[in-house]
């Protein structure tokens, strides 16, 4: 064929979706056969198998590779097939229409840039026709054509076609989806697939094959603000390379980058590459790249690098639309792993606002669970702050999956940022960090000299639980070991820094915690291990801990909770000590935690070395 000799200039991924038995695999088989795209002997081989099994040949059998699929006449899993036409290489994904295999349909559609959605002219709009249409929109597949198949079975009548078009357009309109084309075809007989049908002179639009050429390659997202999620950090040689895939925008050597949520900043020193000469100096949306920075800051997988003018959202909560594929229902209050871009963090479902019925888009409220194959609106709350975007602005950093035990069990898009109670402090920390005046001595220089990184050990608990005693012993032990540690006692702030506050103001946890947190932040910047207790906050220690954490972020926090009886410790507590405490043993436990977190360097030879980066 002529078309195949042309060199492809680009790839386009297409998915074929629709209700079971509406003819997806048949359409695909026909498209290949009528354009001469099947390998020699493929058609004959499948025809022979059919004869052997005593059944009528169907074009669908060409791609339903599994014996079971052919025996049952259904597609179980998506197949990637390749198709060259007019200078483009298409990867066409044939998705199953049976509702039992919805997760396979979603896997297929999630990697598509455009879709063909089939509706059987005789059966009309069915359950999965609607569900697939709705999911395409949720999955971000914005360009698609509706193909009304089996027109031969309704006598090629225009009124049948018009009825289906009207009904389906109304359904799509409810969530603002607009098809590129609506095409009447008979896949079995080849009408309007590759060749124009003579049976439907009333239709003057493009064939399915023509429609493929009408789909646009997703416009490069390079014009958007930069989003560069950190996938990994490599140190194979002298270079410390931050690797990842740019999901939006572009970057170049010399750019000033901000990493969220840590707020760390540095300039791009180089763009690294293998076997590209001369080496690149820029990176664009879609590219998997590696960069080095002009400063040895520690950033880790999951952070998102951007330019300072267009920062992502950072919060511990957001509202989302989600589809659930899990074997067991999604439950409010259960723990799941959330993955946004390259960030993995524990989360729980705070609220299930409503379940959306994809048949009529009716909403059902007050549910505590979301069942398999259902779509819901919900609020997720994460254990630690996450950087993300709204899906309407940034596709890749605005969507997520939930992992239940070992399986990806659901996916969704972020529809709304939810402001949490730390928002003001987080903003204060961000502004303060951006304006921070640095000396010549860097964080790494201090760490090497001191033999440890800066950190804060935060003791929490009620009154008279032994926090002060243990804190004093820990400070003594660290200093005796040659570390630079300092006990920050809240009392000392009250008489000095807080002397301007009235008694009433001193009773308010917010401002007291803010001041305490900012002092701790300063001491951490000097390279110290700060040992602190929540004594000054009395019973309000849980609120104070949150504020202090936000302000010292991203320094390591080792949280130790002490209580006389067993009680619920604040979130993210590392060590729980309840009942009478052996101070020596507790000190050792904390020292071990400092080691495992990479705060304390191991003495190897004359130079201290750090086992982990922070």
């Amino acid at each position: 064929m002529d078309n195949q000799t042309q060199k492809p200039s680009e790839n386009l991924n297409i998915v074929i979706v629709g209700h079971v038995d509406h003819g997806k695999s048949t359409l695909l088989g026909r498209l290949y056969a009528d354009t001469g795209s099947l390998p020699d002997g493929k058609l004959e081989k499948v025809q022979a198998i059919c004869r052997q099994q005593g059944k009528e040949f169907e074009y669908a059998f060409l791609f339903d590779a599994f014996l079971e699929e052919q025996e049952q006449g259904i597609t179980i899993d998506t197949a990637r097939t390749f198709f060259g036409w007019k200078g483009r290489q298409y990867i066409i994904i044939d998705a199953p229409g049976h509702k039992e295999f919805l997760k396979n349909m979603i896997s297929g559609a999630a990697r598509a840039e455009a879709a063909l959605l089939l509706i059987d002219a005789l059966e009309g709009v069915k359950e999965q026709s609607k569900k697939h249409g709705y999911l395409l929109s949720l999955l971000g597949v914005r360009q698609f054509a509706v193909v009304v198949n089996k027109m031969d079975l309704v006598g090629y009548r225009q009124d049948v076609f018009d009825g289906i078009e009207k009904e389906y357009r109304e359904f799509l309109g409810q969530f603002k989806a607009v098809p590129e084309r609506i095409i009447p075809v008979s896949a079995k007989l080849g009408d309007n697939i590759a060749n124009r049908s003579t049976a439907m002179p009333w239709y003057t639009g493009p064939t399915v094959l023509d429609t493929l050429s009408l789909f646009k390659k997703e416009a490069a997202r390079s014009e958007q603000p930069l989003r560069f999620p950190v996938q990994d950090v490599y140190k194979f040689d002298a270079r410390r390379i931050i690797a990842g895939r740019i999901t939006a925008g572009k970057l170049k050597v010399g750019d000033h980058l901000v990493f969220s949520p840590s707020n760390k900043r540095a300039n791009v020193r180089s763009v690294e590459a293998f076997n590209i000469d001369p080496p690149p100096t820029e990176g664009y949306a879609g590219q998997s790249i590696g960069i080095t920075l002009d400063e040895q800051i520690f950033v880790e997988r999951g952070e998102i690098a951007t330019h300072q003018k267009h920062l992502p959202s950072v919060s511990t909560a957001f509202r989302a639309n989600l589809f659930w594929l899990g074997k067991r229902p999604l439950e409010r209050g259960r723990k799941y792993q959330l993955r946004v871009a390259n960030k993995e963090v524990d989360c729980e479902v705070a609220t299930i606002h409503r379940i959306i019925d994809t048949m009529d888009l009716a909403q059902q409220q007050g549910s505590m669970t979301v069942n398999k194959n259902q779509v819901a609106e919900l609020t997720l709350r994460t254990k630690t702050p996450v950087a993300f975007d709204l899906s309407a602005s940034f596709e890749a950093t605005g969507r997520f999956v939930l992992v239940d035990e070992n399986d990806i069990a659901g996916g969704g898009i972020v529809t709304e940022l939810i402001h949490d109670d730390q928002e003001f402090l987080r903003e204060e920390a961000r502004r303060r960090d951006f304006a921070w005046v640095k000396g010549e001595v860097g964080v790494e220089d201090r760490a090497r000299q001191y033999g440890h990184r800066a950190a804060i050990v935060l003791f929490t608990g009620g009154r008279h639980t032994g926090k002060s005693l243990l804190a004093r012993q820990l400070e003594g032990r660290l200093v005796a070991d040659g570390r630079h540690a300092y006990l920050l006692d809240g009392e000392n702030l009250r008489r000095g820094l807080d002397a301007d506050l009235t008694d009433e103001e001193r009773g308010q946890t917010d401002e007291m915690a803010r001041r305490y947190g900012e002092v701790a932040r300063l001491l951490i910047d000097t390279g110290l291990i700060v040992v602190s207790t929540t004594n000054p906050f009395g019973v309000h220690y849980k609120e104070a801990v949150q504020a202090i954490r936000t302000l010292v972020h991203p320094a390591p926090v080792i949280a130790v909770h002490m209580s006389k009886t067993s009680e619920e410790p604040p979130p993210n507590t590392d060590i729980v000590l309840s009942g009478p405490t052996d101070l020596d043993h507790a000190t050792k436990q904390i020292m071990d935690e400092l080691k495992s977190r990479g705060v304390l360097a191991e003495a190897i030879g004359a130079k201290p070395t750090f086992q982990y980066s922070i």
Binding site: P8, T81, Q231, D232, I241
Partner: protein, 265 residues
């Protein structure tokens, strides 16, 4: 060559996800064009390094030139090469005349399973492509195998956007397929574009034949072709309607579905 860069970006992303998420990772290398491109992509992903071992399941029936090529590249690129072999089956006299599926199962599938068990690999990277044959067209990028190494194609995990299955129960492993979206032509275009060293068995050296797909000597036959350069191979592939693996005996009938269900590559 924008489409090659797009394919490269996706494969590199997958390789980096594999490296980040699997502590004990290995990459299968058969020295054929596909797994050699895969190896090259690993060097791209890791800036000249290959930070995991290359595994070769040696059936002992490979074409000798393949072994020479393997050892030369391993030396030049400083690769950590691990060679596995099902010695019991070979000692018992296994060969293709005892049945092609039986031979492939014993020497390749079981050879690989033994290697995985011995070394405790939890992730195996392979260069299979969706356009090679039907069951591979249905693969995921990250595809779980159970305790026996078997593939449950009826119940594959969802794969959403760039999120893959990277956690799994103990005793099972994941097959990672970074080349699924590449076609045979793409492989050759990329070899030319990047100037990747490949075995000259793929070229006609004057007798009017060349190998299009490389496997064991007894079960792989050359095709009639006068392609003497990569450009000529690409030109030939653009015209042909003969399947790539037409010269591979184990693909006959339902051979490949049965093999792959049991853990074949």
């Amino acid at each position: 060559m924008k489409h090659l860069r797009q394919l490269e970006d996706q494969s590199v992303y997958i390789l980096r996800e594999a490296y980040k998420n699997f502590d004990n990772l290995g990459m299968l290398w058969s020295m054929g064009k596909d797994s050699t491109v895969l190896l090259w992509l690993a060097r791209k992903a890791f800036f000249g390094q290959v930070p995991f071992p290359l595994l070769h399941v040696d059936t002992s029936y490979k074409i000798p030139a393949m072994i020479e090529y393997r050892d030369r590249i391993a030396r030049e690129w400083r690769l950590d090469l691990v060679v596995g072999q099902n010695k019991e089956a070979l000692a018992a006299g296994m060969n293709h005349t005892l049945g092609r599926v039986a031979c492939c199962t014993a020497l390749k599938t079981n050879g690989l399973k033994q290697l995985i068990e011995q070394k405790g690999y939890t992730g195996i990277i392979l260069g299979v492509r969706a356009d090679e044959e039907g069951t591979r067209a249905k693969e995921r990028y990250f595809s779980p195998r159970d305790k026996h190494g078997d593939w449950d194609f009826r119940d594959q995990p969802p794969e959403l956007w760039d999120q893959f299955k990277t956690t799994f129960p103990p005793g099972t492993h994941i097959r990672i397929h970074p080349l699924l979206d590449w076609t045979e032509i793409n492989i050759w275009e990329y070899i030319k574009y990047e100037n990747i060293p490949f075995m000259d068995l793929y070229l006609d050296k004057g007798d009017g034949t060349r190998y299009r797909s490389l496997g064991c000597a007894p079960c792989t036959t050359p095709i009639k072709s006068t392609a003497k350069t990569v450009d000529e191979i690409i030109a030939e592939l653009r015209q042909t309607t003969v399947a790539e693996r037409a010269g591979r005996a184990q693909d006959e009938g339902r051979g490949m579905e049965l093999l792959r269900k049991d853990g074949y590559m």
